[in-house]
């Protein structure tokens, strides 16, 4: 499994990095930490590139490198990377790869478990390229900023998307898994099992009876899901909640929830213009939300 963590400003990226690395560890996956630099006008892109080369030649940090250095130090401080004299950040090499991608190579870095990369341009386009080129399975991004970004990420990126909103490093979390009979739910359940197992988190499975579905049918889905967790020795409870799916799940999720749910099976065109339930939940919830694909 491959995980992509997109970071921006330093303080805002702390929770994203921390939770992202926890997920990466729970899946024992390789991780790419990406800094996407500001989009440069076509008028000035070559001028900016010449100036950045000049900064490299003068051993001055080019924009973005300081953020990656901060991320690297943060990972060492949290023991996600073992600290050695040989893998200090100050001895790095920037490798210019294709399509606005630059990889940071540290002199003493032996493992390929964590990659540091920089990209420049429009964020959705860059992350989409990164996911397509390197086949990442989960993209993790902070919950701040423009909400439209999250919608576009979920819509266009070919990986699961984890929006890390209002996450506190020291808080004890529980996993909230809204389920129905869709394929997307099955994937969400698998992901939730892995994550809950690694970090010994409690799980609450919820479902909302909608349309023609009887309460009995929904209860059956809940029990079937609970069984899957129990087989993996994970403490799970179930709850049937009523009302509209989006509002009732948003109201049920608390600050200490991590919501894991499947992507909507809806037509992409309908999703683009009218949104989808998972997307509305991700936008309205004040806690981390993972939409699996």
């Amino acid at each position: 499994m491959k995980i992509l963590i997109a970071i921006g400003g330093r303080e805002f990226s702390k929770p994203t990095l921390d939770l992202g690395m926890k997920i990466a560890n729970s899946f024992k996956s390789s991780t790419t930490i990406a800094y996407v630099g500001k989009k440069i006008s076509q008028f000035s892109e070559k001028d900016v590139s010449v100036v950045h080369q000049n900064l490299d030649n003068r051993e001055l940090y080019r924009p973005g490198i300081r953020t990656l250095e901060w991320a690297y130090d943060f990972l060492i401080s949290k023991k996600y990377i073992e600290e050695k004299d040989s893998n200090k950040f100050n001895d790095y090499l920037l490798v210019d790869e294709e399509n606005s991608r630059m990889k940071v190579l540290l002199k003493g870095q032996q493992s390929d478990k964590i990659d540091l990369i920089m990209r420049t341009g429009e964020i959705i386009e860059q992350l989409k390229n990164e996911v397509e080129t390197n086949k990442h399975d989960i993209t993790i991004i902070g919950g701040g900023g423009n909400k439209g970004i999250h919608q576009k990420l979920v819509q266009f990126i070919d990986s699961s998307v984890f929006v890390v909103k209002n996450y506190s490093v020291n808080k004890k979390y529980r996993i909230l898994v809204p389920v129905n009979e869709s394929k997307g739910s099955d994937m969400a359940i698998e992901t939730a099992i892995n994550f809950a197992k690694s970090y010994k988190l409690d799980v609450e499975i919820v479902s909302v009876p909608e349309g023609k579905k009887s309460i009995k049918e929904v209860e059956k889905i809940l029990l079937k899901t609970k069984d899957k967790f129990s087989k993996n020795k994970i403490k799970a409870s179930t709850k049937l909640i009523s009302g509209s799916a989006v509002n009732s799940i948003v109201n049920h999720a608390k600050d200490d929830s991590i919501v894991i749910l499947g992507v909507s099976p809806k037509n992409p065109i309908m999703k683009y213009f009218f949104g989808s339930k998972p997307l509305s939940i991700a936008q309205k919830c004040n806690c981390p939300v993972l939409i699996t694909k």
Binding site: Q42, K46, D47, N54, F156
Partner: protein, 469 residues
């Protein structure tokens, strides 16, 4: 749902989300093409104005690459009957385009020589007595160099010097943050202000000189431009110094004037010779601009500069090819070609006539009002559309307002150089923004004051100084 349907519809939606401004621009153009031609305009003139609007939208929102916009401009001029193919082709290349090409290549060659180390030492030697004087020196040297070599050359040389001196400043504290901003803005404002000083300071200046020669048969040489623009540059520099000191009050305690020394190795003999030769080439080119621009044109001289660097092996063609923005060269060539057609078809005369009709409805209709509107419009458009593209499209109208009075054309070109409001307006602003140390809001907040003061300075100089020349 069928998986291939999902993939295809998702791809189309992604294309639309990235290119929506292209779709909107095309729809607006098709809508306008279907309206009846306004009274007083020929069909060709009307179509040239529709292409102008299309180019404005596409360049502002950048939904497709610049070379694509350039090619679209050329294709539409012929397809919509604005001009025959041979006329479009011949207006595509002139001295202004050669200047854009030559100055971009020349800039890359100069930056490649690593002259910033020597320049930093020189600035310290002259202005090193105090930190405030040092920043004033950075600003002044940036302005002087930028007036001759252009913004993109100077910012590439000066920014490493600026970033070296602020390298270890803690930006969490307001004093430190202000010191960083003061240093960066001193270099940026010096560079932006300098670019109005001589014709070679910016492509927009050369484009306007070319238009004046073609449309009004008025010739402006290097000296004449400098006599008009340099006094404005000097006043603007003094104002900018105080505006920045006022906006970013700082003790400057953390600035390390000799910070750049840690970043450089010792210069060797070969490098010394290279630097000496580079300086000789630069001086030779500036001297040629002063003395031979009437005979050879500014563009050919700039190309000669790049050529000399290549012949003497001081830079390879691969390096120049890799770093030259060919898209911008194509775009300028196409917009200049469109500018010529807007003039030839009579579209610029029609626009000016409408503008004058509008002015006639105002209570005080005078030259001053039309000058002010034109200058402010040029300045504002340049801030959202970049200066050279603005002059290449608005220039013909500015000349048409008063074909025999060069103050209108000069003011339009100079006001287009007031790139203080947005980060997309000039390479300097974009490079400053790309450092991540300056936000768009910050740039606008400081810039709005400078923009207004600069327009007032330009007005006063055109009213009271230019008339004495």
């Amino acid at each position: 749902m069928n998986e291939s349907y999902k993939v295809i519809s998702s791809s189309i939606l992604f294309w639309f989300s990235q290119k929506k401004w292209f779709v909107y621009s095309v729809l607006v153009s098709i809508f306008l093409l279907n309206l009846s031609t306004p009274v007083g305009l020929t069909v060709a003139a009307y179509h040239s104005l529709i292409i102008l609007l299309l180019v404005f939208m596409l360049v502002t929102f950048e939904p497709i690459p610049f070379p694509a916009i350039a090619l679209l401009t050329l294709v539409l001029q012929v397809v919509l009957g604005v001009a025959p193919p041979n006329v479009v082709a011949s207006s595509f290349m002139n001295d202004a385009v050669l200047f854009v090409m030559g100055s971009l290549m020349f800039a890359i060659a100069i930056v490649h020589q690593g002259l910033d180390i020597r320049l930093a030492k020189l600035i310290i030697k002259i202005f090193g007595k105090s930190k405030r004087l040092f920043l004033a020196g950075l600003m002044t040297i940036s302005a002087i160099l930028s007036s001759f070599l252009g913004e993109h050359t100077v910012i590439a040389i000066m920014l490493p010097i600026g970033l070296s001196v602020i390298k270890n400043i803690d930006t969490q504290q307001s004093d430190g943050k202000n010191a960083v901003l003061l240093t960066l803005f001193s270099i940026a404002y010096g560079t932006i202000i300098g670019s109005i000083g001589t014709p070679s300071g910016g492509a927009r200046n050369v484009i306007m000189i070319n238009y004046l020669q073609e449309f009004s048969n008025v010739s402006i040489d290097y000296w004449k431009w400098m006599k008009h623009a340099y006094p404005i540059l000097i006043i603007q520099l003094i104002v900018a110094y105080y505006v920045l000191q006022f906006t970013f009050p700082s003790s400057l305690n953390n600035i390390k004037m000799r910070g750049f020394k840690k970043n450089i190795g010792k210069t060797d003999v070969k490098k010394n010779i290279n630097h000496l030769f580079s300086c000789l080439i630069i001086i030779g080119i500036i001297f040629s601009w002063f003395t031979f621009n009437d005979i050879y044109g500014l563009g050919i001289i700039a190309l000669a500069g790049a050529l000399t660097f290549m012949i003497f092996g001081m830079i390879s063609w691969e390096e120049i090819n890799k770093n030259t923005n060919w898209g911008v060269i194509l775009l300028f060539a196409a917009t200049i070609s469109l500018g010529f057609q807007i003039n030839e078809t009579g579209a610029s005369s029609w626009l000016v006539m409408k503008f004058n009709e509008l002015l006639a409805t105002l209570p005080s209709n005078s030259m001053n009002v039309s000058w002010s509107i034109m200058a402010v419009l040029s300045g504002l458009t340049a801030n959202f559309f970049t200066s050279s593209a603005t002059v290449s499209l608005i220039g013909p109208m500015a000349i048409e307002l008063h074909p025999t009075d060069i103050s209108f054309a000069l003011s339009s070109a100079i006001a287009s150089g007031f790139s203080f409001l947005t980060v997309i307006s000039s390479p300097t602003a974009m490079i400053l923004y790309s450092t991540g140390l300056v936000s768009t809001k910050m740039f606008f907040r400081v810039g709005i004051l400078m923009f207004c003061i600069s327009i007032i300075i330009l007005y006063l100089m055109s009213q009271f100084y230019w008339v004495t020349l």
